[in-house]
Symmetry: D3
Subunit: 211 residues, 6 copies
Amino acid sequence: MQLPYLFIFPLLLAAASDALVQDFCVADLSLPAGPAGYPCKKSASVTVEDFFYHGLTTPGSTKNKVGAGFAAAFDAQFPGVNGLGVSISRLDLEVGGLVPIHSHPSAAELVLVAEGTLTFGFISSYDNKVYIKTLNKWDVMVAPQGLLHFAINTGNTTVLAFASFSSQNPGIQTTPLALFKNDFPTDLVAKTTFLDVEQVKKLKALLGGTN
Amino acid sequence: MQLPYLFIFPLLLAAASDALVQDFCVADLSLPAGPAGYPCKKSASVTVEDFFYHGLTTPGSTKNKVGAGFAAAFDAQFPGVNGLGVSISRLDLEVGGLVPIHSHPSAAELVLVAEGTLTFGFISSYDNKVYIKTLNKWDVMVAPQGLLHFAINTGNTTVLAFASFSSQNPGIQTTPLALFKNDFPTDLVAKTTFLDVEQVKKLKALLGGTN
Amino acid sequence: MQLPYLFIFPLLLAAASDALVQDFCVADLSLPAGPAGYPCKKSASVTVEDFFYHGLTTPGSTKNKVGAGFAAAFDAQFPGVNGLGVSISRLDLEVGGLVPIHSHPSAAELVLVAEGTLTFGFISSYDNKVYIKTLNKWDVMVAPQGLLHFAINTGNTTVLAFASFSSQNPGIQTTPLALFKNDFPTDLVAKTTFLDVEQVKKLKALLGGTN
Amino acid sequence: MQLPYLFIFPLLLAAASDALVQDFCVADLSLPAGPAGYPCKKSASVTVEDFFYHGLTTPGSTKNKVGAGFAAAFDAQFPGVNGLGVSISRLDLEVGGLVPIHSHPSAAELVLVAEGTLTFGFISSYDNKVYIKTLNKWDVMVAPQGLLHFAINTGNTTVLAFASFSSQNPGIQTTPLALFKNDFPTDLVAKTTFLDVEQVKKLKALLGGTN
Amino acid sequence: MQLPYLFIFPLLLAAASDALVQDFCVADLSLPAGPAGYPCKKSASVTVEDFFYHGLTTPGSTKNKVGAGFAAAFDAQFPGVNGLGVSISRLDLEVGGLVPIHSHPSAAELVLVAEGTLTFGFISSYDNKVYIKTLNKWDVMVAPQGLLHFAINTGNTTVLAFASFSSQNPGIQTTPLALFKNDFPTDLVAKTTFLDVEQVKKLKALLGGTN
Amino acid sequence: MQLPYLFIFPLLLAAASDALVQDFCVADLSLPAGPAGYPCKKSASVTVEDFFYHGLTTPGSTKNKVGAGFAAAFDAQFPGVNGLGVSISRLDLEVGGLVPIHSHPSAAELVLVAEGTLTFGFISSYDNKVYIKTLNKWDVMVAPQGLLHFAINTGNTTVLAFASFSSQNPGIQTTPLALFKNDFPTDLVAKTTFLDVEQVKKLKALLGGTN
């Protein structure tokens, strides 16, 4: 009796390290990453749980000064997206809550509103034009890679939104934290942003910066 | 009185065709696309509406034999995603509805369940292993690029889900349509799939194929 | 007497780990791969044998139900192609032999006929159009990445063909094996493919599937 | 008498549109760009001037409030870099002059100091750490793609520096201009940056913003 | 009676320019290419002939001083490979024939010997090591992108070989032609290659150079 | 008292291996590289020194037969550029000094003249056209990836120039060294370059080759 010929593929391809003979590369977070992502787990240890993430079912805490909760499903939380060029996060905003101005150095963001009314905007680098729009349930908007953007709950109910990214690790640089939540010397911050020294000191105090 | 020096950037950069001096490339759908996407609209004609899409607020019709509705926000519908490497679509499934086996030749898919209970699975090319999981509200799962996957409403209520993609144009190849909804000769289909000729004829009749 | 100045390059560049100071990255198959491929062997251990492969000189066995033999020169067999974005495989088809419907999730395929008459086709995802052509000695045809394709020996002599790929690891997902050679539950297969349960059971039995 | 065989290549390759049969793609700035850059000029009209740029020999004016002059050799000014993934710009800083906080959404920047003493820094998105260093003649420093960075002349003489980029079109988003030199409503700026309304109004007045 | 739901995809996706709604981009050679390749033909005008090439069935003429014939299936000859990252060419070598030292600036090359005995080699840029091997029927060897390589018929019969490339347009720079078959001034050639002026003049005369 | 919400990001993202949660990947030169570069150093051990390089402040020795000094800031010398797609090198040329014909297999080169008069040229692969130009202080010129180019000090003073590259590891293949500074058999060199055997022997003797 004969084997169906297509047994040939797995047998042949399994002859060597099997990492790449699969069409995915689940992150082995115990090894150092490289520019393209994390090394792949051996196929024998990959399970469906690697491709599934339950962590977006509960909001991040909104008990903070901006009334915003955040939960991410990037490669560090969701190893199955390693090498796939896509990831997602959850955003919860109390009434009046907001996401401060920030950018994602490594990804474009596509925001989907699930509940409430969200005003979302990004700023062009060409002419500083502000592209701003108010989104309601199941509206989507996209912010290009690396450009400053923000989101505000401008409705009367909480906002729930999901942001998809064009990278497994979009990165997040939040402008006020980048400027004020560190030891960046106050005079340099003031000079390079045109802000008043008093304003810089006030925000360093608020956000936990020094110098 | 002097201009702030940074006026220099837009003036200088606007000297030539401004298409690339922006950090985005909104699709001009009136021009032929290339391997990397569509040519960019001139910046003067870009508006916030290019980056916004309202078309996912209404489900695609589920009045069909699989009880599934589909709406896409790919580059052809949502020009702002051109060149950004991300897009999204909406899926509605009646009770018992399903998405037949299909693949996306150009993208990984990240599915987010918004309502109901969805059983989602993909099949590895390495060992034909089926990675299958039942997802509930705000669970996510990812299917690697190019691999066969499917989704079924296995709950007692309708399902609403959103699929994000790692490309502005993921492509969709639905296996039963690829095999049976065309003029692919019945004997070739049968030979290359191991299906019985009668089965092939039956599905060609069902799905609108010929030969 | 002086050294020619260009000795400077190797000396200087060899100062650190030399892996990248070569213009190639031969796969070290003993280390886990990442999304971009395998880590590079140290240059001291690279030899011409890494860039040469003899394994396509003998056909894979065609003693199987489809009369097809297959031999691959992908990164796992041919470490020199690691990182180079190209690989090749050999196909032998007995008279009447065929390659079942399959796709390569990670590469386009360019097929070259060396002996006999081969009917090759792929299916568009846009309109399910079948692009099919009969190839003779030294004819070539290309199948785009991720699309279903097949090949049949439609001549009176054996076929020998070679398929080149746009990746060092194209991946191979063979539709009948993906659907029937695993534990994918029969009712789910039937529902998601529109096939009859009896047909699914018959092919699971034929191809070694369960459930 | 015979032609050297290698005449074959240009003749054969010139059979069709010759744009891609060269190993470069000089920008045709009269046509709309796409996500990968501008269409290529026909080879017949390409000259050495396309690959040469004289525009960095004269500084941009430093007669402005930051004492900084800028000149770019990006694709819009220097068509020969189209598709090549590299470009360069010139920076002149008077004593005390500076480049405000900004980022390049599409490129990493490598700065080379030619004259004077330049303090250069960038801010990590991971922990808001400020990587700051004072550079002298022929020192180099790199800022990763998309991260906020700045430069200040901290010496007693003018600074001349050149910044190389990993893209033909790095993009430049200058934080104070993005926030204050547009019609971004004052209350939204204040809310999303934690700045005081008075501060925002002051900078809008200074930089030419409205609302 | 109802339409199968999946009619939805082509209808919906065809709403706009259909170029990208297919999973391929057949070159429209009548339009200027860009850095990523040629614009796509409209799907209505795409036929199977775009994906098929018959031009490798006849050898290029070997009536030349190196006894070598060449035929290419690059994008300019074979529009179906546009955007797919793979192409192929045919090489015929008389007894004693050879391919002079050359490189492909944009692709790695994988050579497959179909008839005869071919000695193939490439030179590393790291330590100038020559990786050289004699190949027989169906042996394969790979040369990394951009590195100098050559091939010689070292057998007693003609050689037929096929070279696959990791690009639709690999480019070919043949060292002796680059140095001697142009108006590159003799003294500059001599200085920058360390060759004697007499040698340069001799080869310019042989290959059709001037100056 | 409450933490500002944005503390959430670093805490959450630091949950796993932090290599990729930064927006850079400083090379860990102690580990083997892969096709995309070196593995990343752990963020805790990254310092500003990784992004800074002082090694271009001193010229490479010009005490050699071409009167040229070279110093590189590629990934092996400058770990901060790993994964960033940009690097730089310094070139010093005595009066009459030159850089022999060479190519960079992995990068385009943008040359900037800092002192003196430099004649720079590259050769097209399409028609062997020599694009040559004499550059003075702060002129720039670009050479496309993989194409042969050279530089000569054609002035009366020393030349100082800097070359930026579109890769962290451009590679350097110097034609005379590739042909003559190794054990490449003299007869093969002669045959594949059209050079006279005597010329080849003379250059092997000059450059340290054998055979």
